[in-house]
Symmetry: D2
Subunit: 307 residues, 4 copies
């Protein structure tokens, strides 16, 4: 199918369809997330010609949670290069995102940077290599999204810290295997802070467009990363971006994607653009039910699978 | 990079490079495989315009082993449709290809059709739905490859049967969970037979071209499967086709691919063609070291990643 | 508490108490077991002075199932000595009795001879070292119990064979690690046959008295095994005889014991005698609820813990 | 064999035999333990008639490490009774003592109080129920051992804290399942402190004599715990006291026992006394090689198995 000139009517139809999905459960492990209105719903498509089309609450910011793993990973890859892959693998995990079992079997080497253990390890890299890892990351995100107003939500940040026992367990286990260099408390602080960044679907669509554009920001023309590294990040998102539904999402949609428990989700369409969606209720895998449905429907309607 | 008019010099160069790789170990769990000359090496590229370019032993047949899982899966998908996915998942396993641990945890439902348990389950589907599952599969393979001379190697077949204790364990465990319907002995006989099919790199390049061509055989124009199912098979190959190196292969190459312990390997390049390689010595993951290197080099030289 | 001269009133009281336990589920994985009347209940105590005191259906025979593992183990220990412990460990498993997970981790070496994998391995020893392993075992059991009428139940035997997929999986997995020497089918046939032996609570109390009497049969004065080997078998029963309740049974009762899914159970009281009970309904761990309660009450009333 | 009037010559012979064992490795995960002279060796037997017979360095104090789990457990059992068993099981683990895998599977409920996770949970009970849990425990130990000079080694305590990442991981994982009530840092501080207590073999032989004497201190006649609870603790030591060698120790010796990585070990002989040994080098299971050999030899020579 040819992409229509004006995507808005299609996006509107897809959003209305998604609103008929009424099951799913808003993340409630911390109060700050549980209070978010479950009816928020947004869908944005940014194409490489610079057009941004949105429907719903596309300028409302939300807690991007695990989607932030993409930004952290990219910074760590730029900073230490292939050395990173001595400390974290690139294989799908076949286990829940916060599994500690696999981490013990594999002697503290996380399966990939998209599961919690892997992203905590990436946080250790950032904390160890930047004097102020938070502001370095924030500056990068603001610049990519072309939005100086992007902030972390300090209430979510504090709340994560006080409910982060399992992530603490993951970090201490890696430390016991010698795979965390900095102070565990500082590493976790960075990790929780990163998860608490708040962006809108439009911010994210703009901010990740370089992954669809061979590493180059389509707005500024700036080279953010190499074509090769953009492909590598997309490969990781394809095999490991959607938790325990990564295989199913590849099978039914076929696009690199990442979700977060705040209800956000992004999919990268190489040489086309970014699809960015948000709706808080999560399915049993911890993926946002409506957001995933909207992205699947858009991709299927336009035949956007990479395979 | 633009694909050159004549691929032969490039393939020749890549094959010569691969010959410098001297480690790796020929599969020796059965005598019939152990006796194969480790110096065999072949590389074939079939493009959708009908051209087939080869270097090395590209017309010598070898035991395709796990590559046969693609043919079995396609037949089962055509025969019982989405019902198949009630009995086998589509997620990466994160475990060795013959792991029995995960099969117990997940109550006899294999993780995907590319690991042994999944392919044995597919064999059960074929045995249960075809009066003569072997000849049905053989006819399909011969037709796809346009080669009526394709045969199974009866010595390999018998040898597999008498060394198949672990696969028997997988089959009986699935049976104990009620996920095998036919007689276990018959199911395993089909499975081992299928693994013992012998094809050349040219046969395989021709036979799988429909996966790169939206389900249509580029030679005959016949629709082998739907575009959607071709994409779905490619997605499974991308997340699960290369055993415990699937993530790494996606990361470093980015193409749907499948390997076998006979030393064969194929990669699908959507809308371009098929890369087919063979060289017996296996690396520590059970993937053919030279064949994988040849495919990676060709893909990288031409920039063929789907991501 | 001093043991009373006449145990009968105490046993009667304990049996009546046990009849108030009404939950539990008769084993139903094979029809021949499912049809047993759930109301059967028997309790026998054999003391080393030769007295046998019984209440309930103490002369009715039942399928002893896993209790037969004691006889098989003793025969194998006598036959091949400490060589046995190269092929099976002596550690508690911490896993369900039919777990295949641990067997894979530990490369086909079962955790102990009281779990299914371990007893199948013991069966392989017997099949490999006796020309007619079944009649050799049967003769030993008849002699120990002083009852030439003891038989296997051929209906249970056949039924086990046709529902034994999981045990087949365990056997083939051990075979794949090179830890089964004889033909798997023959080994499983011996194992299922052994499980189908039918004895009464009185038979078992008599037959296992040597374990409470330092290896010597208190009736005949014959030395069945060394004192040391009697202690070793009792140690195995203490750490591993009651499936996933072994620790709890040691904690609450403190006697070497073994149960079977036919509802039978025996406990050894060193230098005192044997407690033998039967009642078909099983608790959630697969242990016979009433039989276990009767043994616990008798032991607690007489203060019989070894600890 | 009758116990000889004077045990000293036998103990001397056993100690000399043990000195011929030269392999094993002193615990070196913290400097304070690594520096201990590996040649220390001591053996003490305390019988219930009040006699204490020793050979070797039996008055030199050492870090009792995991042996302290017995004291902590007893205090928690006295304090909260059977409520404790809602939060920790009593089953053998079948896993290494510091395994985090099982703890995840079983949702934060440790397998038994003798593995690290279980002892950390016990520490949480003590910290939550005593205003000053350390001094309460210390007073109890001093009183049991009749030695007001007993102390914790502050250097070992600090060292454990700074090398305790894996124990931190266990504690945070339990916390994430809601099975730790107090502050994790405080709980771990108690746990590490308890492990750093220093006693001699004579102190321990004296201090644990009540477990061999039905709960009553044989010196003072004071009832320390009920007969039943003494039996229950002995049962736990029998099934779980010797890490991954618990089954083997039951099989070859047959006594309730506990070891520590400081090289200490105790065995309880009900109605006879306590065997207490110390020698720093550890075998591959983390059990003290010489101490275990001395206890095994003494028990075998006197035929002291409980089975």
């Amino acid at each position: 199918m040819q992409a229509p000139e004006d995507l808005k009517p299609l996006l509107e139809e897809i959003l209305q369809d998604a609103l008929t999905i009424t099951d799913g459960k808003v993340a409630d492990y911390i109060p700050a997330l549980a209070e978010v209105d479950r009816e928020h719903c947004a869908l944005t498509v940014a194409t490489l010609d610079g057009k941004i089309t949105s429907v719903g609450d596309s300028t409302t910011v939300y807690s991007i949670q695990s989607i932030s793993k993409i930004f952290g990973l990219m910074m760590a890859m730029e900073r230490i290069g292939d050395e990173l892959w001595q400390r974290v693998q690139m294989e799908p995990s076949g286990q829940p995102f916060n599994s500690i079992v696999q981490l013990e079997w594999e002697k503290g080497i996380p399966r990939n940077p998209m599961i919690n253990a892997g992203a905590i390890l990436v946080s250790d890299v950032l904390v160890s290599h930047y004097s102020t890892s938070k502001s370095a990351l924030l500056n990068m995100v603001r610049s990519l999204c072309n939005n100086e107003g992007i902030l972390a939500d300090s209430r979510v940040h504090e709340s994560e810290k006080s409910h982060g026992s399992r992530n603490s367990a993951l970090a201490y286990l890696m430390k016991s295997f010698g795979n965390i260099n900095s102070d565990v408390t500082e590493v976790l602080d960075h990790y929780f802070w990163q998860c608490s960044l708040t962006l809108s679907t439009e911010d994210l669509a703009r901010g990740l467009a370089f992954l669809a554009n061979r590493g180059v920001c389509p707005r500024s023309g700036e080279k953010i990363t190499s074509h090769r590294d953009a492909q590598r990040i997309n490969a990781l998102l394809s095999t490991s971006g959607m938790y325990d539904q990564s295989g199913e999402f590849a099978f039914t949609v076929g696009l690199p994607a990442k979700s977060g428990v705040g209800g956000g989700m992004v999919a990268i369409v190489p040489d086309y653009g970014v699809i960015s969606a948000w709706s808080p209720p999560l399915n049993s895998y911890g993926n946002p039910a409506r957001a995933m449905a909207m992205i699947r429907n858009f991709a299927n309607r336009l035949g956007l699978s990479v395979y």
